[in-house]
Structures are given as structure tokens and as C-alpha cells.
Symmetry: C2
Subunit: 215 residues, 2 copies
């Protein structure tokens, strides 16, 4: 950039909203909208052309949605900070966005001045999140805590212990050494827990356990 203001790319399919956001952003002399796009393909093209400091990305877009766009941007090795800017306070969206590598998640109903502050922070690399999402984030982390009790109940303590070790990728032999029992005995436990969980291999056990947060 010719000056040292932060360059921003807007990706949103609503022209009016882009206009409004652009006006708001350019009230702050430290930030500048260098490009706009109304869909994923266009957005990626612009991102590669301008390599902006910050990309403001809408989630609800026709054809390719925001999360997909985000993943595609990352695939293309776009190094810009990417902040999702959306109306959706849906848990799945927030979690998906963050897991896909979003550097922020801001809601469109924010106060304009708060938005400006957040964008400035985001441009410098700070992870910004609308405060309203705190509780939701915490719930996402808890996620599955109590749902597994049903299956887990039928397992003996030893079996649960072995499931955790499998979910850490350990082989039977390693588990045996760790628990000071023979490999044969480990196999017995594995056999039993496979039956109880109605799974077909230790890989399935590992996947299940990791998803339940057991490791």
C-alpha cells in the first residue's frame, strides 16, 4: 500500500451493506477499503490481487457460503486476516468459522463504533469476537459432556481406561506395558468394549472417543 493504513477487502452479496460498511470504515483514517466482492470466486480473485490486511467476510452468500469461501481462501494461501461478519449467532456457524481459521467473528448488529474498534484490532492480528457469543463459545467447548453417559455406563472402569489410551493412538502392546498387563489381556478388553459399543475396530473407537472428548 502507498500509505500505512490497513487495507480491507469486503466480501458480501449485499451492495447496500457494503456501501454502509465502507463509509463507516473510512471514517477511520487508519483503515481503507481497497476492494469489494459479491461472491466467493470474485472474493478470492480480489484477495489474491490486493493481498489485503483484512478480509471482512459474510456468511450467507449464494452459491458458495462463507465458511466454504473461508476454507478456499486458506487453501489458496491467502495470508490476510479474515473476520467473519454476519447476522448469524448460530453456534454451528461460529464454531465452523473458528475451526476453519477465522481470525474473528463479528455480528452485524454491533454498534458502529464498536465495530470500528474491533476491525482495528483485527487488522493488527487480535482475535475479535462479539461479546454476545461468549456463552455460546463455552457451550461449544462443553459440547458433548453428558450425552455419552448411556453407552459409557455399560463399560467397566478398565474398559474406559483402555478407550482413552486407544484414543491417544496407542497400540495394544504399549497399553499393556502402561497398565502392567499382557497384550493378550488388553485384546480381551478391546474385544469386549468393541462389542458393547457395537464398533468394528479400534479406529472407530478412537474416532468415537475423540468426538466425545474422552482423550
Amino acid at each position: 500500500m502507498q500509505d500505512n493504513s490497513a487495507s480491507i477487502l469486503l466480501i458480501d452479496d449485499h451492495p447496500l451493506l457494503r456501501k454502509g460498511v465502507k463509509q463507516l470504515i473510512e471514517m477511520n483514517p487508519n483503515m481503507q477499503v481497497v476492494a469489494e466482492a459479491c461472491n466467493a470466486v470474485e472474493g478470492i480473485k480480489q484477495a489474491q490481487k490486493y493481498d489485503p490486511d483484512l478480509i471482512l467476510l459474510d456468511l450467507n452468500m449464494p452459491e458458495i457460503n462463507g465458511i466454504e469461501t473461508l476454507k478456499m481462501l486458506r487453501e489458496e494461501n491467502v495470508s490476510s486476516r479474515i473476520v467473519v461478519f454476519t447476522v448469524s449467532d448460530n453456534e454451528e456457524d461460529v464454531v465452523a468459522a473458528l475451526k476453519a481459521g477465522a481470525d474473528g467473528y463479528l455480528l452485524k448488529d454491533m454498534e458502529p463504533e464498536d465495530l470500528l474498534t474491533s476491525l482495528e484490532q483485527a487488522a493488527t492480528g487480535t482475535l475479535v469476537i462479539s461479546p454476545r457469543l461468549t456463552t455460546l463459545l463455552a457451550q461449544a467447548l462443553q459440547s458433548n459432556k453428558r450425552s455419552d453417559k448411556i453407552d459409557m455406563q455399560t463399560l467397566t472402569p478398565r474398559e474406559k481406561q483402555i478407550i482413552r489410551l486407544i484414543a491417544n493412538g496407542m497400540a495394544n502392546k504399549v497399553i499393556a506395558r502402561k497398565l502392567n498387563i499382557t497384550e493378550g489381556t488388553v485384546k480381551v478388553h478391546v474385544k469386549h468394549l468393541l462389542k458393547k459399543l457395537r464398533l468394528r475396530s479400534r479406529v472407530e473407537v478412537a474416532v468415537w472417543a475423540v468426538q466425545e472428548g474422552l482423550n
Copy 2:
């Protein structure tokens, strides 16, 4: 309880702090401290005796720490809401507490009136989190997003595809049928991706992939 105020159990090894919190809580007629404990064992005993609506749990305790205590309480099927109350704004602690099933995480440096409000909410079943932890929670969800990019980059499309199938628990033979290639070829791909990811078995691949959200 004889009245309909929320019953609270304090578990904290600092008597002075317990005293302070108790005084604060009882300024609100809707809440009442029914018991106190200075360690895990005592805490569990009291929890079972009084079955309080809410347990306020310190993390830094001698012998058995707060997270362990939390797990033990859940093991004992204590149904009280459990809110962690600590000085630690450490990411690991927050995440561990929530994963262990905490119904809240409050920092000791909160304003007393905010604390009271939060406790009241917690007693009614709302998940309460100190606002200061928002960013941290989001980071925890992102977790390791970019650390692996290096690894992922070296993988061929075919290998990525096979990783996803492994992460769904599939055996080589099943993968072969799905991709219309021989089992031997699948093994070749698996061999290569194991090398690239420096993992030792498909179980480790599955665990890694699930944690990265690849399935």
C-alpha cells in the same frame, strides 16, 4: 431447603475468601451458603449431604485440584450446578473445566455485584462465564488451526481423501472399494501419509484428523 432460596456450597481452601464470598452472597436474600469445605474430599461429602443448587469451586487447592474435584463430583453423580471460581485465566484451566462439565467459570477479580448476578443466573441453570475469557475461548476452539498447515500442504489430494476415510473408521479394504482401487494401493497411500505426518498408525491418523475436524 426450607425456603426457596438457592443453596450454595463453597469449596475453597482459603477461609478468609470463603468468609468474604459468604457475606457477599447472603446480601442477596435469594441465595444462601449452606455449607463450606476446604478440600476435595470434604467438598464431596458436603455436596452429597446437602445436595446444593450450586457449588462454587476453587481450582487451586492442595492435594486434589479443582478439575479433579469437579470430575469426582460428577462421578459421584452430584447433580448440583458447579461453577469454577478462581484467579486463573489460564486457557488450559478454562478448557479443562468446561470439558469436565463445569456450569460456569468465574474469575475472582470480578466486581462483587457482577459476581452476585452471575451466581444467581448460574443457580437457575444458565452457563456463566467471565466476559474477559471470550477471546480465550475462541482461541481454544481454533486450537491448532495453523500449526498443521505445514503438514497438510505436503499431502497429495488422494492422501487427504484417504485420511478423511480413515477418520471415519474405514478399513483399507472398504476404502479400496469406495475409491475403486486395490487394497494394496490404499496401503501405499497410507504408508506415505504416515511418513509425511510422522505418525505410527492409522489410529493416530484418525485421532489427529478428528481433532483437526477433518471428518
